[in-house]
Symmetry: C3
Subunit: 134 residues, 3 copies
């Protein structure tokens, strides 16, 4: 098997969850030694990103910085009471990440984690992990 | 065949076009059952993104929100009368998206479409679709 | 061989380096004729992007525009004296790019180069290039 689906329930308006361990397990379960892995969100108000795992402030600052440029409310939004801010963050961060696999392991930098970013919660959410062998 | 090229002519300064049906057809024509598909823009003032397909306001709000952070004119741009704003939007949204293929179909969320984003039109444009089997 | 690692030493706080020729050489050395290539940064304050290669102002304007939305200092950052700005730029630009390979060559637009973006230098850095055959 090389396609995996994970479910999660977010508990706040916005949050950032590390999913690296789940992706590592999927790569292990796939048995694939060399290739790439794609982490994909099927939602339009979620982003997948790779960023620092050590300092918890980075998580806060990511959400703060994105809120600063895409405020929850703005007179210019067509859908003024809607969630335009969350769609903008999703397209800015992106719906997926691609990571290289070598010797059955993710090639991540020492400080890198893969994050699931909730921009319009709380909701029941999911994401996919697809491993491609070369 | 697993590489496809599509041409389009944009008609406004900025616009957002769904290309999901073209990508679906390419995946079907490739005959590939399981793998990934890459949608790639060869332009430097275009972005490829995945976002909501249901509410037409989202399209407007995406362009509005990006214009708000990267205005068309700003004294700080080196190339003040140029299209720096469009290059910034292209790098923020990104030149490509990767989508998972399973049982010959795209794994997209119910509300997701794949969009070609024109940031400096109107122009004759193109994009590529590459299907990779696993 | 289809996995390559490159080292570079950045010399400024922020800078943008074309790495297209290195990626071209790696694709050639892999011997792969058709597929995709992933350019990946293992750092949390670096981005990989694709943008214009002709006008040197574009490089300046990219850094200027990102600094405008994510200033180096802001009272809202939890880590006020840290490098939140660089983490935000890294997640906005993204840790990787995927480019299509056909007839052993990169499918890039005439004006496109692949760029390594330093957002918190100067430092010793690296990036990976992975070629996947179809």
């Amino acid at each position: 098997m090389n396609l995996f689906r994970h479910e999660l329930r977010t508990t706040a308006d916005e949050d950032v969850f590390p999913v690296t361990d789940l992706v590592r397990q999927d790569v292990y379960d796939s048995g694939i030694e060399s290739g790439i892995v794609i982490i994909y969100s099927p939602h339009t108000t979620v982003g997948i990103t790779i960023n620092e795992n050590a300092d918890p402030d980075v998580k806060f600052d990511l959400l703060y910085g994105l809120d600063r440029i895409f405020p929850r409310s703005d007179k210019g939004y067509q859908e003024e009471d809607g969630n335009a801010f969350a769609h903008l963050k999703a397209s800015t961060i992106g719906a997926s990440e691609t990571v290289i696999v070598e010797h059955g392991r993710l090639i991540l930098g020492l400080w890198q984690d893969i994050y699931f970013c909730e921009f319009d919660g709380p909701r029941k959410r999911s994401f996919y992990v697809k491993v491609i062998s070369d």
